[in-house]
Symmetry: D2
Subunit: 338 residues, 4 copies
């Protein structure tokens, strides 16, 4: 951490800062520049986060952190890439994993129909929401437990693994019982009570980036899960909120190589939520593969115009199958199977 003093701050103020730094257990180094005095603080700041509050001391202009605040999620702790194992399906290895299915589980017929279609097209994991976080209390909130049962049925029939969202700490045991992977949605990226709870799960967690979540915060939220003992975390870029309104969100594909640079965790991309319009999904899936994603999360619905939620961004099974064919070639260029 670097403490920058105000211009011409008197010797006494600098002294007080040095003493406070020592009192917090760090080693201060004084550097007198032409215009500014700077105190470089040596020591691992991550377990003593109170140093930022020294900004309040007289004469301090600002405090600049040096180290990234995450540890277990960082490459410092683990250099080689992590591979997450979802009951045999490996994410982060040499296979590009596609998770596909409807936004919401609506009925047995619907979910099993789609499961069979996406399986045939080459998906390995079935997505489908049973507990739905909806902006409006008047919107369909999901079939809840019944939805989980239907997902399990689809798994039994097709052999696909299943991923579904959990939105409350109290539902974690129930969802863990049924799902192969638990999803934390964008709105819950900083729902720390929920993160702690899934950190105690034995199942892999797919953690979505929040709409206003920085990559650093996403990694800090992964750190919550990891620090509770669950090392099976997959990160997911799904678009951030900007001023652009032709698309639902702005899909930040640079997040993939940035995360790769800082973390060993696998990272996948959800273009369906990222752009919000089905016809934009295929080009962005290809781009996500080309930028190095370990997998994709794609919404597929047999009758999007009648979907209970997110119909506008869902592909029909036929279009999904065509897309999968195309993606194989892009995956091959990245040295990945599908």
């Amino acid at each position: 951490m670097i403490i920058v003093m105000q211009e011409r701050s008197p010797q006494k103020q600098i002294q007080t800062v040095m003493e406070n730094v020592k009192a917090l257990g760090y080693q201060p180094h004084l550097i007198q520049g032409q215009l500014r005095t700077v105190v470089a603080v040596v020591g691992d700041e991550r377990e003593k986060p109170r140093i930022q509050a020294l900004e309040n001391l007289p004469g301090v202009e600002k405090i600049v952190p040096i180290l990234e605040p995450y540890k277990l999620a960082s490459k410092e702790v683990k250099k080689e890439k992590s591979v997450v194992n979802a009951d045999g399906v490996k994410i982060g290895g040499d296979v590009l994993v596609v998770m596909a299915g409807p936004c919401s589980v609506e009925s047995e017929k619907q979910i099993i129909g789609i499961a069979e279609e996406v399986k045939k097209a080459g998906a390995q994991i079935l997505r489908g929401g049973a507990f739905k976080p909806r902006t409006s209390p008047y919107s369909f909130q999901g079939l809840e437990k019944e939805g989980l049962v239907l997902l399990a049925k689809a798994r039994k029939i097709t052999g696909l693994k299943i991923i579904t969202e959990v939105i409350s700490p109290t539902d974690v045991p129930l969802v863990e019982e049924y799902a192969d992977l638990l999803q934390i949605g964008a709105r819950n990226m900083q729902n720390f009570a929920l993160l702690k709870e899934v950190g105690k799960c034995r199942k892999p967690i797919l953690l979505k980036r929040g709409m206003s979540g920085t990559i650093k915060e996403l990694l800090m939220s992964a750190e919550y899960i990891l620090s509770q003992g669950n090392s099976q975390v997959i990160l997911c870029e799904r678009g951030i909120r900007t001023f652009e309104d032709y698309t639902r969100n702005t899909l930040d594909l640079s997040a993939v190589p940035v995360i790769r640079e800082h973390s060993h965790l696998p990272v996948i991309v959800d273009p369906s939520h990222g752009v919000g319009k089905w016809n934009l999904v295929p080009p962005l899936c290809k781009a996500a593969v080309a930028v190095g994603a370990d997998g994709l999360l794609i919404e597929v619905h047999a009758d999007p115009a009648m979907a209970y939620s997110d119909g506008a961004q869902s592909l029909k099974p036929k279009k999904f199958a065509v897309l999968m064919e195309e993606l194989r070639k892009y995956a091959a260029l990245e040295g990945k199977k599908m």
Copy 2:
């Protein structure tokens, strides 16, 4: 809702759209323009949110909603301003209510000391975090139940009402037992499981705007609480996330008159989180009063440089007292007492 057809969309596609609109229970009106055909859909869209999915029908260019999606939070349902009653302290009436205190409850001495100071300066409500949502799992997470007990003690001694944050649905009964108002933090604005839970409380809820929450989404989140039966909701502007980095967030003071225009709910402002630097807090408090806020949430700490959290944005009690004196004059101009 307005369905805009693509240029030169054939009659058959228009027909299909009209039929689908009827099938969903709405009345379609066809308007043929020079360049575009438009289908105006009459009916209350709020309880049948699936119409957006018609975007998937062939020939549809886009769908433009007309009505605001919230109801109970809107002025259509209730024209006159709501006044929330927190065990005798009224928010939304002719008194500007100041809620002040430390970010975290740290110890009995700390919280009671600050409580006495802010009471003397004129605050009516004591704030203090017992359950802390922290970006890092290694940061101080709050004293939890012990913090609640200390807050209750401070209430007993000073007569101040107390407000504290709840971050998990399972903690709601415990927090409700101790607090006079429950706070939903910015990161939980769309934690719908938590919103539903506090919707069943008998205590008033302070709902903070999320960092990337639109005003419309804030009102929809209020709608969650209201629709569960709790009509005592106060909204809180606390800064949104933008590209500007001199301040921690960008405090959106225009949110106050915008909310006033669309909703009957009281709205307060939290400049401490909005700007993140104590020296910017006083001018923004004055501006918040001038723009019409019903109250303020201000962080106060006796020794900010040693605070467990958010020290950089906390005012010392002496500075807070000076600020309160100033604010009285601004409140008076707005016809409010303090």
Copy 3:
């Protein structure tokens, strides 16, 4: 355009709105909903932009535009994709065009050295700034005319076409004399005096999206150039400003298919400015090709650590050559040559 009236607006207000609409030369259609009255306005709004001001009439809640505001840039006017011809190099056709070179022209040796390297690697166009828009007045502002002369020399030696930025209307004739394509930088996307001036040029214009420019505004800025008679416009996505700070900007790759949907103009991507770090450039170049871009703008410098500007985001020639080899495979999948 749709004029939404406030709830229960009296007949007289609706009447006044209808009359004002007619006075402006449009045809109003009245639709009475359960909760709202809506006036649909038929007619081409693009040449009579004052209708928005009717929001000021009593009883009007809001006005929602239906048509896109651009015309010449839209697919309504021209269905087939445009191909821009830069003295023989075609952008928007079946060749993926790479424009590469240093941020700034620094010296004869520098620019000719890089030109030869990028030519050998397969670039068709040499980029290099002679007039530099720099955030600081104390930063290197470019070699100006001397830079143009050096670029022309590099063209003569290598056969590459040259693109360079113009930042002032008064410099347009000079830059047009030397360059094969003129670039309008992100900061000048809405410098309308400059747009009008380059609209009178006979050379193609590369128009970059502003840091806070919506896609709609980018197309409106293209409309400025097109409406002055210059039909040779190429659009360029180069990253928008968001809260994320690991990258210099957030590269919005979804802009490529969105522009494709709405406009016939070619669109290229500049990942160097988009991300600002050289090691992130290669994956984002691949993604840009996969998402359907017609070309790429890539910064290359022989000694980035000593570059006068933007060194941090420049590739060395050797890395650029390796990237070009990789890109050929991605271009081939898109049916494009390189």
Copy 4:
């Protein structure tokens, strides 16, 4: 500047960094931490901006600047607040200066009518656009020279000073001839050719913050003007672009105290563009005064529904007069006359 080395970077890399720092004329200080080696660079970085490019050297993780990049605009160079003198009207002193008038000059009758009204209500400066930067090439572009002549006529009749926008370097001499203050609009905040040109003027310049301009960049743009010799610069907050869409922009009132902290230049607020709706303008004017602004820029039009531009955000003269009465009380609390 602080150069942070990657973890476990070898001694040789550190050595190379030290040498490069010296070669650029700075003094390096080596600090070996537990986890990271850091090189603190002492010296004024503002005139040698190339140090950032050292990020390209092997082993460098990132470079963190310490000093603000502006000088003449900073309080380091000039501690006391600057007062700008616009032909006798002083901005930045103990008078709150109101600049009011229509978005565009439309006709003699219109501009003189409004001038008389705003004068009567207490405004000191008349605003009115003669050269209009419009998003659409089909929108009214201003009366140009005729508009300037009409403004001068209004000045003669009312005694008000006049401010008007200049959008092209070539128009600067003409606009300077007529106007008392020249305005640089938000879209031109980083039009450096224009900034240099007005830096040579003898008249005060009102510099608006760009829609995506940081406060730091705004000060850097002021630095352009100041460094050309024109010390009469007024800054103007007018809203930044965010995801919120109830308002046209998000008015960042915290910019006022932030600028006050870092710069000696006067700063005013333009709530009309900030929020874009006339009914929100009065509360935000009051807030702008309360937060410490030196003045206000307010759009006033006699018949907003018929205005050529920005009608939706214009106040009618009667409402403006009422607002001025109210503002006097808020100005008084800030120790300012009106």
